[in-house]
Symmetry: C2
Subunit: 243 residues, 2 copies
Amino acid sequence: MKRPLREEPESSGARTTVTERAMQRIKDMISDGLLVPGQRLPTEREFAADLGLSRSSMREAIRALTVLGVLEARHGAGVYVTSLEPRDLLDTFGVVAEISRGDTLLHLVQVRKILEPAATATAAARIDDEILTLLRAEMTAMEQGGSAEEIVGHDLEFHRLIVEAAGNPVLSAILDGLSSRTFRARVWRGYRVEGVFERTFQEHDRIYRALAERDPESARTAAAIHVTAVEDWLRTQAEIDEV
Amino acid sequence: MKRPLREEPESSGARTTVTERAMQRIKDMISDGLLVPGQRLPTEREFAADLGLSRSSMREAIRALTVLGVLEARHGAGVYVTSLEPRDLLDTFGVVAEISRGDTLLHLVQVRKILEPAATATAAARIDDEILTLLRAEMTAMEQGGSAEEIVGHDLEFHRLIVEAAGNPVLSAILDGLSSRTFRARVWRGYRVEGVFERTFQEHDRIYRALAERDPESARTAAAIHVTAVEDWLRTQAEIDEV
DNA sequence: TGGCAGAATTGGTAGGACCACCGGCGAACC
DNA sequence: GGTTCGCCGGTGGTCCTACCAATTCTGCCA
C-alpha cells in the first residue's frame, strides 16, 4: 500500500503517460480559447517547465499534434497554432488511404460514391462561370495528354474544383483524402484497361454539362456514374494484382 | 549505409526532418508489406540504430504514428503494428470535431446529413433481426431516461448500430467521428430546447420502423429528417452561445 | 539611412541515465 | 507433482545535457 506518489484520484484516468496528458492539456487550451489560431506557443523549454515535464516529452506531444495538423513548428521561429480549419486537420485522412488495402480500398471508394454525387449536386446550384472556365481548362489539358502523372493531376484537379464549389471545407478535405490513393494508383498503373481514358473523358464532359446547366440532379447522376466506373476499375485492378 | 547524411538530390523534398523521414520509412514498410498488422517492431533502440538516427527522433516518429492509429506501443512489451483497420486509423477524426467550432461544426453535420441517410438506406437492406432487437432495446433504454450522459449514450449507440449494419467500416469510422462532438455538446447542454427529446424519440421510432420493414427509401428519408433536426438544433445552440 | 554580419533565440538531433512495466524462468511452497 | 510467487532481463517512458541548424533580432558600419 505504500504508493510512493499516488496520482490524485480526481481525474480517474491517471493511468496515462505524461505526453498524452500534455497533448490533452494543449487541446483543452485550444477548446477553451486560451490558444487561438495563429498564436505562438511558449518555447518548448519554457512550455515544458510550465506544464511540469521534460522537454523530450513535450516535444513528443508537440510532434503528435503537429502531424494531426493542430500545431505547426517552424525551425528557429517557434511553435504556432494552425488555422484549425478542416484542410489542416483532415490531411491525416490521406494517411489512411495511403496504407489501406484490400477491402478497405473498396470501402473508401464506396464512401466517395456517397459523397461525390451529393457534392456535385450542391456544386451545380452554386457554381459560377469562373470555376466552369477552370473546369473546361482542366478537361482540355487532360485530353491533350502528357505523362501519366500530369493526366492524373488534371483529373484530380477537376474533381477538387467541383467539390470545392460545393462550399463545404470538411467535405473537400474528406474527399481529397479518399481520392488521393485511387489517383496515385492510376499514376502507377496507367489507364491500362481498354478504353478507360475515353470513357473517363466522356463522363467528365457529362458532369461538366450538368454543372453548366445548373442542373443538380443531372450532376448527381453524372457523378454517381463516374464514381461507379472508378469503383469497377478498382475491382479489376484488385483482380490483376493480389495486393 | 554508404550515405550517412547529405540527402540525395533525387527526392527533391530533401527539406525534411529525420523524424518525418523515419515516419515515411515506416509507412513505406507497411505499404510494401514488410510490416503486417499485429507484427512487432524491433526495439526502439535497435530500430533507431537500423535507420541511422537517435532514439529520441525514433520515439517522436513512433509517437506520431501511434496517435495516427498505425502503431501501438505497449510499455515493457514492445511496439506493434495495429490491425490497420478503419476504426483504428480514423479515430483521429474525432480530434477534428473536438477542437472545431463555428461554421466548421455546421459543415460536420452537413457531411453527416449526406452520409447518414445513405448508410441507413443500406442498412435497411442488410439488417438482421438480432440488430433490430438491439435497436429496440436502445430506444427503450433511452426512453426510460437517466442521466443526460446515459441518454446521449443510448442515442449514440442507436445510430452506431445502424451505421455498422451498413457494413462499411470506413463509413462507420467517419460517422463516429462526425457525431461524437454533437453528442458531447448534448451532454453538456442537455435537451434544453422544448420538446427536443420527444421529437428525437419519434424520429428514432420512424427510422426503426423503416428498418424493420426493410424499406431503404423510407429509411433514407427518416434518417435525413433526423439529421436535419439535429442540424437545426445545432443552429439554435450556436445562437444561444456565441462560441 | 540602409544593408549586412554577428549574436541571441528557438526548434531539431543525439546520446545517456534511470524508472516503470511486462513476461518468463525457476525456486519455494502446498 | 502441481501451483504460486518472486526475481530478473528486456523494453517502453521520462528526464537531462549537449550541440546543431534555422530564424530573428541587434547594432555596427558604409
